[in-house]
Symmetry: C2
Subunit: 407 residues, 2 copies
């Protein structure tokens, strides 16, 4: 009973439910809402499975061919789906007319405001492929100046779009509420900035704004789609995005994933900018790591120099030790989260040259040592393969998901 994920089916004596359904029905549901859901289901099916016939979609969704035809007619009329002509394959019966999401009819604009020095933006295809890219040096701008910079970035991206834009997705640092108000972003000096409303008013397009890590996890989730996923985003700060039960976690105060200032361990640690000792961010944020590495002389990137072998080896060992300790600290903080949520997959996103070696290993080892082995046997910790575009691509997914019900 797949639909029980979405609707309660509360007959006395009815089959037992999966417990994934809503505990409290929140409002009425009309037949037209069911139709909207089925529309999204069709788009979802086409988007993830590629070009199909109406009959194929019917078989995959369980809806009848008639209903699919009807839904598809609406979608074609709206320009969201296109007919691609007849299927080539040699099969008995009337040849199928292939249909697909109108992948080339819309572009998406994505913004990544999470980096310290630059605001990044891109025009992408529906699948997240980046067509155009702009970086705008922030130059330390904060408050209204930073907001104006964002608007300028959007304007320039819109000018680069060659076809209609489906919507704008923004990954911002800080705490962002569901209405797209940046409640608090210390680095940018934003407090209660109605970014969604500002951009929507300016562009007259659908705009979605969310926390950068929560946006990034959408890019990751689009690929494998497990029910439980945690993404750790290491950059100027440390943030997390969470998907639990297949849904993004927002948090009671809209601050889910703000894990950077949780204290690690019980043995002190470096003094953090927030005043506490041993915050996760004080251990593993990028600036701190690079500074530490520089201090031991193992320069980041290529450590090739004129030094002799011994020095090189010693430097490499010192470098590994620093990264291993940082990875260990991340594992210490994650262990309770992994245990409590019984997570199956954790993804690391950030500079690969820092995270992808000793750091990664230490985090895995620490997680395994500090959680119950039998329960978390199939826990996977991996590096994100999305590199620096993860927020931009996640922003595209956010728009796609929000506007079409597709991911």
């Amino acid at each position: 009973m797949a639909h029980s994920d979405l609707l309660t089916v509360p007959f006395a004596g009815a089959p037992i439910f999966t417990r994934s359904r809503a505990l409290r029905p929140t409002g009425k549901v009309l037949p037209e809402h069911a139709r909207s859901h089925n529309r999204a289901l069709v788009l979802q099916t086409l988007y993830s499975s590629g070009a199909r016939s109406r009959a194929d979609v019917s078989r995959e969704t369980g809806l009848t061919r008639v209903t699919i035809s009807d839904l598809v007619a609406d979608l074609i009329a709206e320009g969201l789906v296109v007919e691609l002509g007849q299927r080539e394959a040699a099969r008995p019966g009337k040849p199928a007319t292939l249909i697909d999401v109108a992948r080339d009819a819309f572009q998406i604009i994505g913004l990544d405001l999470s980096e310290h020095e630059v605001f990044r933006g891109a025009v992408t295809a529906l699948d997240g492929t980046i067509a155009e890219r702009i970086e705008l040096a922030r130059g330390g701008a904060t408050g209204e100046a930073a907001a104006l910079l964002v608007e300028q970035l959007v304007d320039r991206l819109l000018a680069l779009a060659t076809i209609p834009v489906l919507g704008i997705g923004v990954g911002s640092p800080g705490v962002v509420d569901p209405l797209g108000v940046v409640r608090s972003a210390p680095n940018l000096g934003w407090v209660d900035l109605p970014l969604q409303a500002r951009l929507a008013a300016r562009t007259e397009l659908p705009v979605h704004v969310a926390n950068d890590a929560n946006v990034a996890i959408l890019a990751e989730h689009g690929e494998t789609a497990p029910g439980e996923l945690l993404l750790i985003k290491v950059g100027h700060g440390v943030g997390a995005g969470l998907i639990v039960g297949g849904r993004p976690v927002i948090g009671g105060g809209f601050a889910a994933g703000e894990i950077g200032h949780v204290v690690v361990g019980t043995d002190g640690g470096p003094r953090c900018a927030c005043g506490k000792d041993g915050c996760l961010e004080a251990w593993v944020a990028e600036p701190r790591l690079t500074a530490q590495l520089a201090a031991v002389g193992a320069s980041r990137g290529s450590s090739v120099g004129a030094g002799d072998g011994d020095t090189d080896a010693a430097a490499a060992a010192a470098r590994d030790e620093i990264l291993r300790e940082a990875g260990r600290r991340l594992g210490i903080v994650l262990a309770p989260v992994v245990g409590a949520l019984n997570l199956t997959e954790v993804v690391l996103s950030g500079p690969a040259d820092l995270l992808d070696g000793a750091f990664h290993e230490a985090t895995v080892d620490t997680l395994r040592q500090r959680t119950m082995a039998e329960l978390n046997r199939d826990l996977r910790l991996r590096m994100s393969e999305q590199a620096e575009d993860i927020v931009l691509r996640g922003a595209a997914v956010m728009v796609l998901s929000g506007q079409l019900g597709v991911s």
Copy 2:
């Protein structure tokens, strides 16, 4: 747009969503499913608001009076709702006919298998009020013997029920999957025990089985119903129940909340039965605490003795220190979870004489010290008011929720 919690509404150019909707539509939705949802909505409204007229329900739900009348007619025919006669109040207009959930027409059977020495069970009213109660000494029974004991308990409870039984709810220790198979419960020696199926076949009633802490949190959630809630259940072991985004968290391996064997801090700790040092359970499980308290001579419960004042005061101080340290350890483990999920409410369940003083204070203090103050300002940590019946009452809620869509 309250319905967007349950159904996607994916028009291009449609209003911005709350992000609480499903990311991936999981299956088709038919009008009849909408009807089921609305049925549950009516029951929910009546259950939580008490006796109302059809017109009242119409106003509260947003459905028309006609539709409510139709749904209520069905529910009355099935015996789930009853008419109570006319409203007394002096108001203009035709007097309303009050209707309510048939609170006296069904009982629920709840089982709590989480205690070490006894299996507890109860016959409750729909609201969780306990009508009859049975405790069965386990006597160290494990495996099939323990399963037979559960069946015996159910039989005896069914015999005590005076009216039809809506269903059976079971809170079991260990890992329980959504189909009610106890995947693993070391204390009871259960591995892949299909408890739900066995009891359902034996009684021909709807049966719901879940982990004890996940059941307990339903009892707590019924009262305040915030979106995010964490319950820590301290007993022979330590377990947690989680509600995130209004939904119970199950976990990728169905082991969400199994936090007892997560290692606390970075300074070692007592050796745990699982072989690791410093597991949460080794710090704060009830047997360990009582043993420690006994060792310093501050006997649990009344510490009144023949000793002089100084000794008493010293013993009390030692006792407080033990509890404070345990509470601190709990706070250390919870801080990352609270931070990552941005939880608003944490509930402690267990022996109040252990948890409700220094322990509680230390946990709160530690949580505040180790998380970001601004984000978790409105975090509340409180003792459960449900005492020992929390699992039994949660089991009733689980049945109510599963069978009627009501909580």
